[in-house]
C-alpha cells in the first residue's frame, strides 16, 4: 500500500472538489438570499484539508497499483460524503443534525435520492441547487471527472476508473487514453443534461427548476426541489421528458458514445444489454398500466400509461423521482416497482442496482443449464449479442449477484432489528443499496423518522451500491492489507 501516494491523490481530489462549493454561492448571490456563508466555510475547510493531504507529498512519484485504486476511490467517496454534509450541517436554514446531514449528502452523491428533509419547497435556492449538484457530480462519477481533468493521474487513472465505473466489463475504453475516455463521457453527460434542461424549460418549468431537475434526472438521482417531486407539475410533457431522459441516463454511456460517433441509432438496436433493458421496461410498463386500469376505476388510459411508464423508468433505474403517489398504488404494483430496482440500469450508466447486463447473463446462463439437462453432452456457447461470454466474466457475475443478494438479506434483517416491519426493511434496502431513494411502508413519505443506526446503515449501503459492493468489500479482506 502506498499511503503517501494515496494521500497525495486524495488531497488533490479534495482540492478539485472544494471548487464545487462555488456554484451554490453564485446561486445565493443571484437570488440575493444571503445563504452563501456555509458554502464559503465548507470551501475553505475542504481546500485546506485537501492541501494538507496533498502538499506534504507534492513531489512524491509512484505508480498507482490496482489495490491503491480501490482504497483511493472508497476513501474519496466516504470523505466526500462527509465533506459534502458540511454546508447542510452548518446552515441554519436546514435543521439537521450530523447524521442527517451525512445521510442527505451521501444520498445525493450516490444518486440515491433518499431524503430526510421535508418542506423542501421553502429551503433557500442555494441549498436546493447544492443537493441537485451533488447528484449530478455523483452520476457520472466524481473520480471519472477527476481522471478527465487531472492528466497527471496517468496509468493510475485506469485503476481509479475501474474501481468506480459500474458493470462487469471494466476494461472497455472508448478511446486509447483513459483521460480522453473520461473526458468524452463527461462531455456527453453534460450535453445530455443541457438537452434535458432545455426540454424541461420548454415544457413549462422555471429555469431554476429545469436545471435542478435535469441534474437529478440524467444522474438518475431522485432529489427534487419540491416535496411532491414531479407530481408538483402534473404535466404530461414534463413527465414524458423525464421518462425519456431517465432512460437515457440508465443506458450505458459507452453506447451513447458509439451512437454519437457513428451518427447512427443502429448501435442501440444491436446492443444486447439495451434490448434487454428496454424489453423489461416495456414489459413492466404494460403490466402496471393494465394493473392500474384493472384495480383503479377513476383513471384514464392516458394517465395510466404516462404514470406507469414514468414510475417504471424511475424505479428500474434507481432514480426515485415520482410523478404521482406510487406507494399508494393498489395491490402488487408498489412491490413490483421496488423489485425492478434490483436489476437496475445498464452497465456504465448512471443507474443503480445490479445492472441489466448481469441480469441478462444470469438469465442466459440459467437457460443454458436447462438445455444441458436435456443434452448432457451438448456444447452451448453462451452468446451475448454477437460475442460469446468468457467464463471468467460469468464467474464474476455470479459472484457479484451472490454477494448482492446476501447483502440484501442481511441488511433486511438488520433493518427489522431497528424496528422496521418487513416491507419497510426491504424497501429501505432497495432504496439504499440500489440507489433507488424512495420507499414504501413506513418510509413512504421520507426517511426522517427511522433510527440513527438505520440511517448510518443506509449510508453505508448507498456507497456500497454506487461502487458495486466489491470495491468496498475488498477493503475488508485481510489479503488486501497484507504486504
Amino acid at each position: 500500500m502506498h499511503f503517501a501516494l494515496i494521500s497525495k491523490i486524495l488531497g488533490l481530489l479534495l482540492v478539485v472538489f472544494s471548487f464545487t462549493m462555488m456554484p451554490p454561492v453564485a446561486v445565493s448571490y443571484w437570488y440575493q438570499e444571503g445563504s452563501e456563508g456555509p458554502f464559503l466555510v465548507s470551501f475553505v475547510i475542504t481546500l485546506l484539508l485537501g492541501l494538507a493531504l496533498w502538499l506534504p507529498f507534492f513531489k512524491h512519484k509512484e505508480e498507482l497499483q490496482t489495490r491503491d485504486g480501490f482504497l483511493v476511490v472508497t476513501l474519496f467517496w466516504s470523505v466526500l460524503g462527509l465533506i459534502g454534509a458540511l454546508p447542510l450541517y452548518i446552515s441554519n436554514d436546514v435543521p439537521v443534525g450530523f447524521t442527517d446531514a451525512v445521510f442527505e449528502s451521501m444520498s445525493g452523491l450516490t444518486t440515491t435520492g433518499a431524503t430526510i428533509l421535508s418542506g423542501i419547497d421553502f429551503l433557500p435556492k442555494s441549498i436546493l441547487f447544492y443537493r441537485q449538484q451533488l447528484q449530478w457530480l455523483g452520476g457520472m462519477g466524481v473520480v471519472v471527472l477527476a481522471v478527465a481533468i487531472l492528466p497527471m493521474l496517468g496509468v493510475g487513472g485506469m485503476q481509479l476508473y475501474k474501481a468506480e465505473i459500474p458493470g462487469p466489463m471494466k476494461d472497455a475504453k472508448l478511446t486509447p487514453r483513459i483521460a480522453e475516455t473520461a473526458k468524452a463521457l463527461w462531455l456527453l453527460y453534460l450535453f445530455i443534461t443541457v438537452a434535458c434542461a432545455v426540454l424541461y424549460w420548454a415544457a413549462g418549468m422555471t429555469i431554476f427548476d429545469a436545471i435542478c431537475h435535469s441534474f437529478s434526472t440524467v444522474a438518475t438521482g431522485g432529489f427534487s426541489t419540491h416535496d411532491a417531486s414531479m407530481a408538483y407539475w402534473d404535466n404530461p410533457w414534463i413527465d414524458w421528458t423525464a421518462t425519456l431522459f431517465i432512460l437515457i441516463g440508465g443506458v450505458n454511456f459507452a453506447l451513447h458514445f458509439a451512437v454519437w460517433r457513428g451518427r447512427s441509432l443502429i448501435a442501440y438496436i444491436l446492443d444486447p444489454e439495451f434490448r434487454f433493458f428496454m424489453t423489461l421496461f416495456l414489459l413492466y410498463t404494460g403490466l402496471i398500466t393494465v394493473g392500474l386500469l384493472a384495480f383503479e376505476v377513476d383513471v384514464t388510459a392516458d394517465d395510466a400509461l404516462r404514470h406507469s411508464a414514468f414510475q417504471v423508468a424511475s424505479f428500474s433505474t434507481g432514480t426515485g423521482l415520482t410523478s404521482t403517489n406510487a406507494a399508494a398504488w393498489p395491490g402488487f404494483i408498489p412491490y413490483l416497482l421496488i423489485f425492478t430496482s434490483f436489476i437496475g440500469g445498464c452497465a456504465g450508466s448512471t443507474g443503480g442496482g445490479m445492472k441489466a447486463v448481469r441480469a441478462a447473463l444470469v438469465f442466459h446462463h440459467s437457460v443454458r443449464e436447462l438445455r444441458r439437462l436435456i443434452y448432457p453432452n451438448g456444447i452451448f456457447a453462451l452468446r451475448f449479442g454477437r460475442h460469446s461470454v468468457p467464463d471468467r466474466v460469468l464467474q464474476a457475475v455470479w459472484g457479484f449477484v451472490g454477494v448482492y443478494i446476501t447483502l440484501s438479506v442481511i441488511f433486511t434483517l438488520l433493518f427489522t432489528m431497528t424496528g422496521m416491519d418487513l416491507t419497510t426493511a426491504v424497501s429501505a434496502v432497495a432504496a439504499s443499496l440500489n440507489n433507488l431513494g424512495v420507499g414504501i411502508g413506513q418510509v413512504g413519505g421520507g426517511f426522517a423518522n427511522i433510527t440513527d443506526s438505520a440511517k448510518w446503515m443506509m449510508t453505508v449501503l448507498m456507497v456500497a451500491g454506487r461502487l458495486e459492493v466489491f470495491t468496498l468489500l475488498v477493503l475488508f479482506t485481510p489479503m488486501f492489507w497484507r504486504q
Binding site: G154, G157, D171, P176, R177
Partner: protein, 458 residues
C-alpha cells in the same frame, strides 16, 4: 498522434510503452487476448483483439483517423497486407512495417511504393541489431556506438579505466592531450547517475562516458579513457538464427568467424551460405563444444540465440573458459541490469536498438535519428534546424545561447559534409543537423518544441 500498432510481441510492446509515455493515442492489435490484457493493465493504451490485417479489426482500432500504422507482427505477409488495407481503405498517412526476410527487402524499391505495396518505411529489427553488434565489434572497448549523419559522426559510450591518460583529470585537459582531435563529452554516468560534464569535471575510473566525435577520431578519444584494446580477430557466434547469420555474413571477410548452431539442419544451411565461416554444430552451453571451438583464444563471443537464459549461461561459460569479451543478446530488460558489467561485457537489448529507428518517424520537428541509450532512460537525437533566426529558437544562435531543456547537451553539428563539434561559440545555421544528448528521456518533448519552427513574430 494517433498510432495503431499491430502485434503485441516484444517489439510491439516496447514500442507501445515508449510511445504511450510520449502522450500519443496508442491502440494495439493482437490475436492473443492474454497478452493484450497484460499490456492494457500496465499502459494507458487501447487494445483490440483480432487479425491485424482485417479491415473490420483495423476500423475497430480507429484506423479511420489514425495518423500512423506500425505493423510489427511476426508475419511479414500480415504486416504487408495490413499496410495495404490501411492505405486502400483508410488512407492512413504513414505506414511502417517490419519485413524480415531478405526475399522481400532485396527488391524493396519495386515492391514497396504507392503503386505496389504502399509501405513508407521498412524496418528490419534483425538488421538493426546486426548493425549494432557489428559496430561494437569494429570499436573494441565501446559499450555502444551509434551513427549520425550517415555515419560521419558517432556517439560512443565507453567505460573509463585506470591507465587511460585522462582518467583522474579534468575534462579540459583533453584538448591539451590531443590538440588535433576535436570531441565533446556529452554525458557521464557515474554509478548509474548522470552528470552534466563541465570543463572542470574530473573523470573517474569506472565512469560510463558518452562522447561525440567524427568517425575517424573515435579511436584516439577512446585511447584517452582506457588502455586501447587490440583489434579483434577471432569471433565466435553462438546461434545461427537470423541475427547470427546476418552478422557472420557481414563480417566474415574481415574477421576469423565461427558460428555454433544447435540444429543440424540449420547448421548445414549455414555451411552452404557462409563460405568464409566455420560452422559448427553443437550446443553453446556445452563446455566441451566451446572448448572444441577454441574458446580460450576467442576475442569476442556473441550469444545470439533467441533464448535469453541460454544466451546468458553460454556467455558466462565462455567468459570463464577464456573468451576475452562477451556480448549477449538479452530481450528481457530485467536481466540486462543483472548481468551487464559483471561477467558479461555488453548486453544487447534488441527492442531498445529497434525502437530508436522507429521513434525518429514518430517525433515532431524534423528528427532524422533517434537512439535509445542506457536501456531507454537516455536518448540521442539528430534533428534538423529549420527556419531563420526569427522563426526558429535555434538557428542563428550560438550553442551557449540556446535555451536547452535541463539535462540536454548539444554534441555536434553537421553542416553539409563538415562535422563541427559543438563548442559554445558555434553558431547554428539553417539546415544544420544538430546532434543532441538527453540524459532524461522525458525532456524529449521540449527538444522537439525547440526544433519546431514557430511564428514568434505574429
Amino acid at each position: 498522434m494517433k498510432i495503431i500498432i499491430l502485434g503485441a510481441g516484444q517489439v510491439g510492446g516496447t514500442l507501445a510503452e515508449n510511445l504511450a509515455n510520449e502522450r500519443n493515442d496508442i491502440t494495439v492489435i493482437d490475436t492473443d487476448a492474454e497478452r493484450l490484457r497484460e499490456l492494457g493493465d500496465r499502459l494507458d493504451i487501447g487494445t483490440v483483439r483480432g487479425m491485424g490485417c482485417y479491415p473490420a479489426v483495423l476500423k475497430n482500432a480507429g484506423a479511420e483517423d489514425a495518423d500512423m500504422l506500425i505493423a510489427v507482427t511476426n508475419s511479414d505477409e500480415v504486416n504487408m497486407i495490413a499496410c495495404q488495407v490501411a492505405y486502400s481503405l483508410f488512407r492512413t498517412p504513414s505506414k511502417i512495417a517490419r519485413i524480415r526476410t531478405a526475399h522481400y527487402t532485396s527488391r524493396s524499391d519495386k515492391l514497396f511504393n504507392e503503386n505496389a505495396l504502399p509501405i513508407d518505411v521498412i524496418i528490419s529489427p534483425e538488421q538493426v541489431v546486426t548493425d549494432y553488434i557489428k559496430r561494437l565489434i569494429e570499436h573494441p572497448g565501446a559499450l555502444q556506438v551509434v551513427n549520425f549523419a550517415g555515419g560521419r559522426v558517432q556517439l560512443v559510450a565507453v567505460r573509463a579505466y585506470y591507465g587511460g591518460p585522462l582518467v583522474g583529470n579534468e575534462l579540459r585537459e583533453l584538448r591539451k592531450h590531443m590538440p588535433n582531435v576535436d570531441t565533446r563529452v556529452a554525458a557521464i554516468f557515474r554509478r548509474g547517475r548522470p552528470i552534466i560534464p563541465e570543463g572542470n569535471t574530473v573523470i573517474e575510473a569506472d565512469d560510463e562516458v558518452f562522447f561525440i566525435a567524427a568517425k575517424n577520431d573515435i579511436r584516439a578519444v577512446m585511447s584517452e579513457l582506457r588502455r586501447l584494446e587490440h583489434n579483434y580477430k577471432r569471433i565466435l557466434i553462438a546461434g545461427g538464427g537470423n541475427i547470427g547469420y546476418r552478422l557472420a555474413k557481414s563480417i566474415q571477410h574481415r574477421y576469423n568467424v565461427k558460428v555454433l548452431e544447435r540444429s543440424p539442419g540449420r547448421a548445414e544451411w549455414l555451411g552452404e551460405k557462409l563460405h568464409q565461416t566455420v560452422v559448427l554444430q553443437g550446443l553453446a552451453t556445452d563446455r566441451d563444444e566451446l572448448l572444441k571451438a577454441n574458446i580460450e583464444n576467442t576475442d569476442v563471443f556473441c550469444a545470439l540465440t533467441n533464448d535469453d537464459e541460454a544466451n546468458i549461461m553460454a556467455s558466462l561459460l565462455a567468459k570463464r573458459l577464456g573468451a576475452r569479451k562477451v556480448m549477449t543478446l538479452i530481450s528481457n530488460p530485467a536481466y540486462v541490469d543483472l548481468v551487464q558489467g559483471h561477467d558479461i561485457d555488453i548486453a544487447i537489448s534488441p527492442q531498445q536498438s529497434t525502437i530508436g529507428s522507429l521513434l525518429s518517424h514518430v517525433r515532431r520537428g524534423d528528427v532524422v535519428n533517434v537512439y535509445s541509450l542506457r536501456r531507454g532512460a537516455a536518448e540521442a537525437i539528430e534533428a534538423i534546424a529549420h527556419g531563420d533566426s526569427k522563426s526558429s529558437k535555434v538557428v542563428g544562435r550560438a550553442v551557449e545561447d540556446i535555451d536547452l531543456p535541463e539535462g540536454t547537451t548539444i554534441g555536434a553539428i553537421v553542416r553539409g559534409e563538415k562535422v563541427l563539434i559543438a563548442h559554445d561559440d558555434v553558431v547554428i545555421e539553417p539546415d544544420d543537423h544538430v546532434i543532441l544528448f538527453l540524459i532524461d528521456k522525458r525532456r524529449t518533448r521540449d527538444v522537439e518544441k525547440l526544433f519546431q519552427v514557430g511564428f514568434t513574430f505574429f
